[in-house]
Symmetry: none
Subunit: 194 residues, 4 copies
DNA sequence: AATGAATGAGGGTTCATTCAT
DNA sequence: GATGAATGAACCCTCATTCAT
């Protein structure tokens, strides 16, 4: 276990620092120092700073997927309730996943190519989940697809979803806005509704 | 005018580079070289890299305000049409204002405190504008404020607005998604509608 | 045999890499990876990078000696023909002995003391061989020792020999110049001749 | 002059260290420390370690050219005496130009591409000089071109010249062998002679 | 005999900033 | 107003070597 100990220690510390200071302002030196490991050890376990960051982000994305799956696969929920819980859970998890936010930056600010595939995977995965929920909603006669274009609807929905990440967490307004989350959901679901 | 010439040249070049490569990956060296000015000159006109970046962002925010004001103050438009045009214009301007996107990063990733006040100013300004449009919509019997809480509605609205910035520009999907912009607006306005 | 297997594998790989990339640009990591051995194994069999390099060079020098001995001990050859074949064979062998070239560097650029004795051994050995050929040439009335100083002549001769290594191999001009090798030999032998 | 002072100081120190320890074993840190300059200053004046080394070598090559030109253009010398002095001067200058030796390494060991053009320039320049001397020798009925191929002769000659660099300096045997230099020249010139 | 995790000194390079001119 | 030389801290990364297993 000693091996994994070192690697985990590094990931844990890196996760904390990347989340707090961002990719650029976190140095390999600092990670090593706080993890009480030699700098060379970081490079023994990870090919470089980018790979270490990637692995940290990957962990959080997996965690997100795991938690959302529970909701999507819960057969006792109706589509509108399910989508509401999906959105809320999504926000909660992301709120505690500081490094994922760094990923956002990767996407548009710095164009960190090395993170792209992770993001795309998650996007596609979420699209599938939401599709299943909306199809369920149509079955249950709760939602209606305007002009029959499911793909467009999904794109728009994901667009909003991801858009919400910014004001909620990134500006640190999660606590301010989360009480009004119901209002937002009501608007969105009413907008989607029959 | 020689003075302004130099300062403007620096700002122009800095704007282009910050927008293209981001705050971190743009160096003062590069700005100086491309502007054909001595590095010392940058520090004569600006206290440092952060201040230079701040001024660049300020310029773009002012431009955004100017263009949006035209729409808000256009008395020939009804509230629903006005809000639609507001959103579209907002996207258009931001699409060409690369540095503003950098600001987003500032807000949440790197915690660039030195940009905060600019962002807050803009947020408050937009809140005022949207408030006036929605009040006009209520007057015209187009919108309805659920449970009478205007402040909450505005916060949610701005939240969505800003959220949209990411998928639209920052992920480079502006061209992909802009055709479906109408769908999104229909959903939002229907959600807000009476 | 398992022991020798590992050691030989390491030497073989090290020889290839040192020859291709040079002493400095070849890392123990790379040798270990390509040899599919643990890095620790290299240090089990060799005291360090220098010793490994030394052993690689030693192998090539022994090969050179073996091949040159065949010519020197060939009783059917006259001295001038023998010296000609000696020089040509020397070039041929060295052309395929990449690590020996590294040795040259060792000698003068980086002052790799740890290689010195190998080089000196070879120099002395070659001196002996050439001496026997020249003595044979004097016996056969083909060569003439100017002012009777054999030692000096040998030093000069070896000096030229080794000097030729550079333009021939090290600058990659072996193929360009080897056709003119006859001209060079004619000049040298005529210079040495009676 | 303050500007050139710094740059010259760096070059001087770099020249000494590169010559003494070689390209790899000389660190930018050490150069900076001994030159009593900030490490950043090295990078202000030179793009990197390679460029600094290149400039150091270029200086020595220019010095070599200057000194050899004096001999080549001396109208009072006959061809055989001229070529003898050319070779001797060449050795003397190179003996004190430690960094040029590093260049040799560049040529064949590490394939320092960034030095190639310097070397090629020098090779071509020397070929021209020697050609003029040999033509003069033919005019004066001192030399004879075997089978009329001047180009081959020049290649062979330069090959020997450059070859001599190794045993003379690089192995530190300059002092040992320089007394016998006359013998070598006699052999070569006799070999070339009519 | 062999492994591979861990080390830590050292390397080249970048860059925001300062300051004498 | 403007310059550009000079700084030095910080950064990412490499690598020969050690050692417990």
């Amino acid at each position: 276990m000693a091996v994994d100990d070192t690697k985990n220690k590094i990931i844990t510390v890196a996760s904390r620092l990347f989340g707090r200071y961002g990719f650029y302002k976190t140095s390999m030196d600092e990670i090593a120092k706080i993890a009480r490991k030699a700098k060379g050890s970081l490079y023994y376990h990870f090919a470089g700073k980018e790979e270490l960051f990637t692995e940290v982000v990957a962990k959080e994305i997996n965690n997100l997927k795991t938690q959302l799956s529970v909701i999507v696969n819960d057969n006792t929920l109706k589509a509108d309730e399910k989508i509401k819980r999906y959105l809320i859970k999504r926000m909660e998890v992301l709120d505690s996943a500081a490094n994922y936010h760094e990923t956002l930056k990767a996407d548009f600010f710095e164009h960190f190519d090395f993170i792209d595939s992770l993001r795309n995977d998650l996007d596609n995965w979420e699209k599938e989940q939401l599709k299943s929920i909306i199809l369920q909603g149509i079955d249950e006669d709760i939602f209606r697809i305007q002009n029959g274009n499911m793909e467009v609807l999904l794109d728009v929905f994901i667009m909003v979803l991801k858009g919400l990440e910014i004001p909620f967490f990134l500006q640190g307004k999660y606590d301010d806005l989360s009480p009004h989350f119901d209002d937002l959901l009501r608007i969105l679901i009413k907008g989607l509704g029959k």
